[in-house]
C-alpha cells in the first residue's frame, strides 16, 4: 500500500501552462512566454520576421495574409509603443483591428476579467493581444477563451513580454549573426520587476547564448535568478566587460519609494551606461533598450543616440516580429507562415 493518495497523472485541461502554447501538431497557437518553446519555434519566428522585414521597407507595406481576420488589442495597462506596433503589424497583414483599452477601474466596477473576455469573444474575433498588470494574466485568458482564439501576450505583470524578447533576439541576430553560442549578453537594471528581462533570459538560453549576465544591486534582483541560467553581477563594468550586447532596462520612478534604491543620481552613478563605461565592452558591442528610455537615469544621451545604439531598430523590428507571430498563430491551417518563411 504505497502512496495511495495520489495526484492524477493526467493534469486537468489547460493546467499545463507551458504546453498550451502549442497545438496538437506542435505549432504555435498562443504566444504567452518564451519559456518552454524549442529553438525550432523561436528560430521560425525569427525567420518569418526576416521575410516581413522586407515588406516593411517597401512603399506598399501590406500583404493579404490575414485578410478577414479580426484582432483585438486588449490593453488593461497603458502602452503606446507596444500597442501601436501590434496595430501596425495587424494592419500590414490586412487584418481588422480593434483597440480596447480597459482601465483597471472599470473591471473593479463589477465586471470580472472573465465577463470582459466573454463579451468581446461574442463579437467573433480571432486573436486577443493582451497586456495586463497581473503576472499570469495571459495564461489565464488563454485558458479561458474559446478554442478558436489565439492569445498573444503583450506583457503580463513581471512575468513575460515574449514579443519584445523576440524582437530583441531578431535585433541581435541581425547584428551578430545566427550563432548565439559565442555571444556574451549583459542585461542591466531592474531585473526584479522586468517581464522583458525574464522573457529575454529564456529566449537567449533556448538559443544557446554563450554567457547571459544580469547586473543590478541586490534589491533589484529576484531570489534564485541564477536558476534561470544567468550569471549575476553587481558591478556594471565587471558585468559588461567584453560583452557583445548590452541591454539596459528602464528604471521606474516608483522604485525609489519602496526603498529599493536611494536616488536616481546614485543609480546613474553606479549603473548608468556612459560612453566611458561602454569602453570595457567589445568594440563592436551593440546597446539595446526596450524603451521608453530615461535619459540620465539608466543611460546617458550620448550612448542612447550614439553609433552603437540599436534602440530605434528595435522598434522597427518589433513590427516584423509581431507580424511573424500573428501569421504563425492565425495562419496555421492555411500553412501561410511556412510558405512565407521560405520565400525570403
Amino acid at each position: 500500500m504505497v502512496n495511495k493518495a495520489t495526484k492524477p497523472t493526467d493534469t486537468l485541461i489547460g493546467h499545463d501552462a507551458w504546453n498550451i502554447q502549442l497545438d496538437k501538431n506542435g505549432q504555435l497557437k498562443h504566444f504567452l512566454t518564451t519559456e518552454g518553446l524549442g529553438s525550432n519555434i523561436l528560430t521560425q519566428i525569427l525567420d518569418t520576421a526576416e521575410s516581413f522585414a522586407g515588406v516593411n521597407e517597401k512603399s506598399v507595406k501590406k500583404v493579404p495574409l490575414l485578410r478577414g481576420k479580426t484582432i483585438v488589442n486588449l490593453f488593461f495597462e497603458a502602452s503606446t509603443r507596444t500597442r501601436t506596433t501590434f496595430e501596425l503589424a495587424a494592419k500590414r497583414l490586412s487584418a481588422d483591428v480593434l483597440n480596447i483599452n480597459i482601465s483597471t477601474s472599470s473591471t473593479s466596477k463589477g465586471e470580472t476579467l472573465l465577463d470582459t473576455l466573454q463579451n468581446i469573444q461574442a463579437m467573433h474575433c480571432d486573436m486577443f493581444v493582451v497586456r495586463h498588470s497581473d503576472s499570469g494574466a495571459a495564461h489565464y485568458i488563454a485558458n479561458n477563451v474559446a478554442p478558436n482564439i489565439s492569445v498573444i501576450n503583450a506583457g503580463d505583470g513581471s512575468h513575460a513580454h515574449p514579443t519584445q524578447a523576440m524582437l530583441d533576439m531578431f535585433t541581435i541576430r541581425r547584428n551578430k549573426g545566427p550563432n548565439f553560442g559565442n555571444l556574451r549578453v549583459a542585461i542591466v537594471g531592474d531585473i526584479l520587476h522586468s517581464r522583458v528581462a525574464r522573457s529575454q533570459i529564456h529566449a537567449l538560453n533556448t538559443l544557446n547564448t554563450g554567457d547571459v549576465r544580469v547586473i543590478a544591486p541586490k534589491t533589484l534582483l529576484p531570489v534564485d535568478i541564477e536558476d534561470m541560467g544567468v550569471n549575476v553581477f553587481h558591478d556594471l563594468e565587471a558585468g559588461i566587460k567584453d560583452a557583445d550586447v548590452v541591454i539596459m532596462l528602464r528604471l521606474q520612478k516608483e522604485r525609489m519609494q519602496g526603498a529599493l534604491l536611494p536616488s536616481e543620481q546614485e543609480y546613474f552613478q553606479l549603473y548608468g551606461l556612459t560612453e566611458e563605461r561602454l569602453r570595457v565592452a567589445k568594440s563592436d558591442a551593440i546597446v539595446m533598450h526596450p524603451g521608453p528610455i530615461n535619459r540620465g537615469v539608466e543611460i546617458a544621451s550620448d550612448v542612447a543616440d550614439g553609433p552603437r545604439s540599436v534602440i530605434l531598430d528595435q522598434v522597427s523590428n518589433g513590427i516584423a516580429v509581431r507580424m511573424a507571430v500573428m501569421t504563425m498563430t492565425l495562419g496555421r491551417d492555411a500553412s501561410a507562415s511556412e510558405d512565407h518563411g521560405n520565400s525570403k
Binding site: 502512496n3 499545463d16 497581473d134 503576472s135 499570469g136 495564461h139 505583470g157 512575468h159 517581464r195
Partner: protein
Amino acid sequence: MSNIIIQNGQLIDPANKIDQIADILVSDGKITAIEKANSIKVDGNTQIIDATGLTIAPGLIDCCARLREPGLEHKATINSETIAATKAGITTLCCPPDTDPVIDEPAVVEFINRKTAISGHSKIVTLGALTAGLRGEHLSEMFALKQAGCVGLSNCRQPIENTQILKRALAYAATYDIRVFIEPDDHWLSADGCAHDGKIATRLGLKSIPVSAETTAIARALQLVAETGAKVHFGRLSSAQSVEMIARAKNEQLPITVDVSAHQLHLTEQDISSFNSACHVIPPLRTQRDQEALQAGVVNGTIDVICSDHQPHDIDAKQAPFASTEAGISALETFLPLCLRLTQQTSLSLSDVLSKITQAPASILNLDTGTLSIGKTADICIFDAEEDWQLTSDTIHSHSKNTPFLGWNLQGKVKHTLVDGKLIYSQ
C-alpha cells in the same frame, strides 16, 4: 434519550493509548461503556452501528476553519460548513475572529453559537479578537470574550505593528490564562506577495513572501512570550526555519504550541508553477525542503496539531490571474484523508496522526472532547481507513469547491459521525 452502540470497530483513542477492537455504548450524549467486542448487552431501544472493519476515533477537531458567517455568506454559511464538517468526521471547528463583524464582542459569539445550534451539526468554538476590530491598536475586552465562551484570542493575520501593544496584549491575556493564537507574519515583509520567495515566483514574476516574514514575527513573539509568560499557539507554519525556531523555544520550556495546515504537508511551490490559483494560499507553499521539515516536525512532535485551514471561496474569487485571486483552500473534505496520507509517507501510526487532530487540539482549545474516555462527551468519528475515493466537485459538501486536490485519489472515508451522542451523519 435512546442509546447507541457502536460494535466491533477498531477503536483508536490516542489520549488513552487504546488501539483495539471494541464496542462503545453511548447514552444521554456521553460515552458510558467501552468493552470487548460483542460483550455489551443490547436492549430494544438501542440503535446499533455495525463498525466491523471500520475505525472508531474521537470526533476530529479542526483548530482553524473559516466559516464565512457572519459577513461573507455568499462564500459559505455556518449551516453549509457544519454539515460538510460532519460528513468529514469533524465534530468541532475553531473559528478565527476575522469575520465581519469581527468577533471582538460577546454579541458576535452569541450570534455564531445561535446559528450553530439552529443548524444542529458540528460544534463551533470561537477565538476572540486580540485587539479591538483586529486593528492592532487597543486591547479587546478579553475577559468578556472569555466569559462569552471564546477559547482563545487572535489577531489573525492583521498586523500589530507596535510591539508594545503586542507585549501588553500578551501580558493581559496571560493574567486571565487566555491562550493567544498567532499567525506569524511581518506584513511589511509579506506586503502584497502571493508566492514563496524562491525560484518559482522569480520565474513567474509573482510578488513574493520571504521566509523571514514568518520567522521575524515568530522571533518577536517568542521574546515576548519569555517576558510575559503568555501561552501562545502559533498557527499555520510554512517553513523549515520556523520549525527549527519552535523546536529550540520548546526546549527552553516556553509555553508554546504550534499547528500546520494539512495542505502544507502535501504541496510545494512547484504546484503553482502553471499559475494554478487553487494553490494560492497564505502563507505560501514553499520548497520541498520546507515541506519535508514540516512533516518531520509533525513526526517528532515539534508540531502539535494539524488543522484544515479551511477557507471556502465563491467561484469568482479564484477566477482571475493568480495574484488577483483570493488565497485559501476549501479543506474540510480532504482533512482526514490528507492526514491519513502521513501514515504512508512518514513513520507516524494511525493513532499518532489521529492524536494531532483530536487529543492535541482539544487540549489546546480546552475542550472536553478529543478522547473516547467513559464519561466524556460522545463526539465520535467512524471511518473506513482503507476506502479509496476520488475527490470531485460532487463529493465536496462544502458550499465552495476551491481545492487543488480535485481529481486526487484519496484514502479514508467517513461513514458515521456522532455529535453530542447523536448520530448526525451516516453515509
